[in-house]
């Protein structure tokens, strides 16, 4: 029978008061840790997904929204910009890369992103199997999408209008999966990538009725589209007719024909992602973009910093709340131990008569606080990570970002140290009281 065992037995002998202290401590720790786990993963996501993009050129609107939408694939597009008119960025001598992207369709709420092969280089994307998209309506898909929907190379899928769950699908013109990307822990994992042409073709003959950015066009363009529409429909009907008997993917050559029918000047994209060759570009390029009709330049670094500045007070308030709960936990432990000590004064006196030294009695009480702290910590850590893991499913559904409960932070060591300090501080006064027990007087009183 060592002291540790007696301390342990004393804790489980009073399951209700020990349990309450434990629960309070664990709750405090859980709130702190879940906040840490979430904010850490969000800031990691933002770091991983920035792709070294210096500037996002998109349609006028909220700068933060255009960054969130085009770089982080969270928000909705601000609108469309004319591809032909982005030449100033593509040709600019201080621009390293100018990558056009087009967002507006989805496959079961996962985004279909039309772009060039350069887009992969932002995130170091690599092919796991198959190949990159080449001809229109070929798609190379992210690893998460492939796993989630069991899509394999050669499978066909229809894109839906807009970014949410959509009823209307491009059923007659289906994409073909030609490649699957390696998991990269970036936005790539949750995207279906295709060529810009795919989107232009799919939307060439459609009415403009859904939430995606493809549909926001000027009146002139609208009129031009109406004219083209007949022409496209014509080609379209031919296609349907030809392929009436088998549902194989339409011959790429026919897409060439449709594409030819779309005036270059009416081709639109959602945004242009820019990497500078030199930082001096930031003194000229954003200005040009902002002075171009209907366009706006947003610097991700600035927008994201502002976003975090916005979130920070909320995190502080949550942390403060957690602190209050931890303090209540400490108080509850203190009171529980002091109360149990009242009942146990005689016990302690008896232990002393059996040969226990004052130090031993002191250690025993202190150990009870220590053990409760360790238990509360373990419980808190368990709930946090498990909770985060369960919560991550919900986050993934909503944002298509992968979160996990199975990451460990170095802050968890600080929390452990904090918990132990709290346990020991709450036990200190009761332990001193036990240390000072007047054996003779205690024994005479009963």
């Amino acid at each position: 029978m060592n002291v540790l065992k007696i301390s342990w037995k004393n804790i489980i002998y009073r399951p209700l008061s020990s349990g309450l202290s434990l629960l309070l401590l664990a709750s405090g720790i859980t709130i702190i840790l879940i906040t840490l786990l979430t904010s850490r993963q969000i800031s990691d996501k933002f770091k991983n997904n920035s792709g070294g993009v210096d500037l996002v050129i998109a349609a006028e609107g909220s700068r933060l929204q255009s960054v969130l939408c085009n770089l982080y694939q969270i928000d909705k597009p601000t609108g469309n910009i004319n591809y032909a008119r982005t030449g100033f960025a593509r040709m600019h001598p201080m621009v390293e890369k100018a990558i056009p992207i087009s967002i507006g369709d989805n496959y079961k709420t996962y985004r279909i992103l039309a772009t060039t092969h350069d887009y992969l280089s932002l995130y170091g994307g690599e092919i796991q199997e198959g190949k990159l998209w080449e001809t229109p309506l070929e798609a190379t898909i992210g690893s998460e999408v492939a796993t989630k929907f069991g899509l394999k190379i050669g499978d066909n899928f229809a894109g839906g209008h807009g970014l949410g769950e959509s009823i209307e699908e491009h059923k007659d013109q289906q994409y073909t999966v030609v490649g699957i990307l390696k998991k990269s822990n970036t936005v790539l994992d949750n995207l279906l990538l295709t060529s810009l042409e795919s989107v232009w073709i799919l939307h060439a003959g459609h009415d403009h009725d859904s939430g995606g950015s493809f549909d926001i066009i000027s009146k002139e363009e609208h009129d031009a589209n109406l004219l083209k529409k007949e022409e496209v429909h014509h080609v379209h009907e031919e296609n349907s007719h030809e392929h009436h008997h088998d549902h194989e993917v339409t011959n790429p050559k026919d897409y060439e024909a449709i594409l030819k029918g779309i005036d270059f000047k009416t081709r639109e994209i959602t945004a242009m992602l820019i990497q500078y060759k030199t930082t001096r570009a930031r003194f000229t390029l954003p200005g040009i973009a902002n002075n171009t009709d209907g366009m706006m330049a947003a610097e991700p670094a600035i927008e994201i910093r502002q976003l975090f500045e916005l979130i920070e007070p909320a995190i502080s308030i949550i942390s403060l709340m957690a602190m209050v709960i931890v303090i209540i936990a400490a108080a509850s432990m203190f009171i529980a131990m002091l109360n149990s000590l009242k009942d146990r004064q005689y016990e302690i006196a008896i232990m002393r008569t059996m040969g226990a030294s004052t130090t031993k009695v002191f250690t025993m009480i202190l150990l009870e606080g220590f053990l409760l702290a360790i238990l509360g910590y373990l419980l808190g850590i368990g709930i946090s990570h498990l909770g985060m893991e369960l919560f991550s499913g919900y986050l993934a559904e909503t944002y298509h970002y992968d979160f996990t409960g199975w990451i460990w932070l170095k802050e968890e060591w600080y929390i452990l140290a904090g918990a132990i300090v709290i346990g020991i501080i709450s036990a200190l006064y009761p332990a001193i009281k036990a240390y000072r027990t007047d054996i003779s007087q205690t024994l005479s009183n009963k």
């Binding site: 029978m1 004393n10 002998y13 031993k360 024994l443 009963k446």
Partner: protein
Amino acid sequence: MLLTKDIAFNYKNGNNISFQDICLEDESQALILGKSGCGKTTLLHLLAGLIKPTKGSIKLNDTELGLISGNALDKFRGQEIGIVFQTPHFIDSVSVKENLILAQTLAGNPKDLDKVQSLLSELGVLEKLNSKTKELSQGQKQRISIARALINSPQLILADEPTSALDDENCKSVISLLKQQASKSKATLIVVTHDNRLSNLFDIKITL
């Protein structure tokens, strides 16, 4: 041999009490009688080293209790003095067996389960080995507290009113067990009481 000389004690409230000298040979069994409030418990606590006399000396064989203190005194008490209290108290969170093992280890002795079992069987409470102390009757509790006082084979056994809560039958058997075990382990036994039922059971009687 237990020897006290000129001992006196000052209470916190200023009252003063002095005790007659006591001299007991090894293995003797003595009864200390006195009315309540005459300092019986104080004397017992002085003999157990739980409090220090303001003057005088208490000597148990070669050890002068006044000269050791702190951890050494705690350890000496654990090993050499067994105490049976008026109301038996235990560490409630552990079983009877663990209470007795605790008495061994707290005194610095190795854990000896055989001894725990043989002592409990001699006292007729072996079947309570794994019981919780809260589940015991008063008589059983007193038997187990005797076992606890004896577990380390002390030189001196002190019993403070061990029979006051017991009926006549239990009273007799507890005292005979106490006497029997004390002589078996060659310990000096001192029973402090105001219980006149006991006066015929002891040869040496000291009245305060």
